[in-house]
Structure formats: C-alpha cells, structure tokens
C-alpha cells in the first residue's frame, strides 16, 4: 500500500481552513452588501 498519508492530512487541513475561515468571516458579518 502506498505511503501517501501526508497528502490526505494536507487536503483535510486545507478544506478545514477554507470552510472554517469562511464560516468565521460570515458570522462576523461578511461583506453583507448583496
């Protein structure tokens, strides 16, 4: 089995940063101009 777990960790962290970052941005008010 290939040893590629580092890519999995990187992808999961990247997705968490994107989703969590956007959620925090939005809950803090976002741009809210429509």
């Amino acid at each position: 089995m290939p040893d590629n777990g580092g890519f999995t960790v990187a992808a999961y962290i990247a997705a968490a940063v994107i989703y969590l970052g956007y959620a925090i941005y939005l809950v803090r008010g976002g741009r809210a101009k429509g």
């Binding site: 890519f7 992808a11 809950v27 101009k33």
Partner: protein, 235 residues
C-alpha cells in the same frame, strides 16, 4: 416585529446551524479518517474522496440554484431573488475553491501531477473564474437594477457549465475517474465507503444550507438598514 429584527433573528439562528454544521463536519473527518477502511490500491490518499466529492456536489448544487434564481430574477425583477442569487454565488465560490484545492492534492500522489489540462479540471477552473467574475461584477456596477440583470445573465451562463462538467468524463479522454455514485446503474463503491460518502454528502449539504441562510440574512439585513436610513433621510 420590524424587518430588521426579523433578519437579526434569522442571522442568529443560522449562525447556530453553521456551528452545528461545523461539528458534524468534524464527525465526517473522524468517520472518514478513523472508521472507514483504507482503499487497497490508492492507500490513504483515497480518503480525500470523502471531502472532495461532497464539496463538488454542493458546488454544483449551488450553481444549479444560482442558475434557477437568476432566471427567476429576469422574469420577476424581484430584488430579493437577486440577493438570494448573489448569496448563493458567494457560497458556491467557497465550495468550488475547496474542490480546486483538494483535487490537486489528491492528484499528485495518484496521477503523479498536481494538475492536468483535461476537460473536467479545466471546466471546473472556468466555473471558478465565472463565479469570481460574478462577484467582481457586483462590486463594479452600482445601479441595483443593472447590477442584478448583468449578474443574472452571468449566473445562468455559469450554471450551464455544470452539466458539461458532470458528463465531461464520458465525452472526453480524461485522467479524472468516472462517477461512482451519481451514475447510470448502482453505485460501485463498497458499503462502508458508500455510507461514509453519503454521511458526508448530507453534512456538506446541511452546512451549505446554513451558510446560504446566514449569507442571505446578512444581505437582507443590510438592505433593510439601507432602506430605513433612506427613509429617515427623506423625513
């Protein structure tokens, strides 16, 4: 209750659901990384599938909603529909970004390259640029009716790309794998992996709805405040 109070309440309620979505997202991570079997050929990198594919599903769902609401706006000319479409576009941008970031991280260990200019990847990148153009357009055009009309046309054009992206793996020679769930016939995924994927689909969809609800509440709140201010200035 005034409109401003109603949208403030929607904002608070949707924020709670965003929190619930994030907790469930953490549960997806645990289930996918700890309790789902490792695929024999690809190894651990295959687990990127459980966040990449649901992100793509939600992005395409969001573009579908954007296309429909944009078309509805052109018929009704209702500013609320325009605000809803704009909210959908912003959230669609986030999910498409996640697809375009997690895809190459999966591609590198499996294909040996971060990126290839094949039909599905290139069209998805185009889709990202279309929604980026949509959001930039909204900041550049200040007359509300004109902004809504131009945005609606661009929103429909973006949504038209989605069916091409889905069938691109059948139409063109590509390195991207064929669908394993949304395909003619039964899903080809083993049971435990399919259960994790379906759980992830459900959680990502709920998270999307919460984000969209919150974004729309913010847009309506800003709109209601601007109207109240204009009325005060007139009085």
């Amino acid at each position: 209750m005034t409109p401003i109070e109603a949208f403030e309440r929607a904002r608070r309620r949707s924020a709670v659901w965003i929190g619930v979505g994030l907790l469930l997202m953490a549960a997806v991570y645990v289930r996918a990384l700890v309790f789902t079997p490792v695929e024999a050929v690809q190894g651990l990198a295959q687990k990127i599938f459980y966040i990449h594919v649901p992100s793509a599903w939600v992005a395409f769902l969001a573009f579908g909603i954007l296309g429909v609401t944009s078309a509805v706006y052109l018929f009704l000319k209702d500013p609320r529909v325009d605000l809803f479409a704009a909210s959908t576009a912003e959230v669609a941008m986030v999910f498409t970004t996640a697809v375009l970031v997690t895809g190459p991280i999966w591609g590198k260990p499996i294909w040996g390259t971060w990126w290839t200019w094949d039909a599905r990847l290139t069209l998805t990148l185009f889709l990202w640029f279309v929604v980026l153009g949509y959001l930039v357009l909204r900041t550049a055009v200040h007359e509300p009716g004109q902004r809504a009309r131009y945005s609606a046309v661009l929103g429909i054009l973006g949504a038209l790309l989605v069916p091409f992206i889905h069938v691109s793996v059948y139409l063109f020679r590509t390195m991207h794998p064929m669908p394993v769930v949304l395909r003619p016939g039964k899903p080809t995924l083993p049971g435990a992996m399919l259960a994790t994927l379906l759980f992830s689909f459900a959680v990502f969809t709920l998270f999307f709805v919460a984000l969209l609800w919150h974004r729309y509440a913010l847009a309506r709140l800003a709109d209601a405040r601007a109207r109240a201010e204009a009325e005060r200035a007139d009085a």
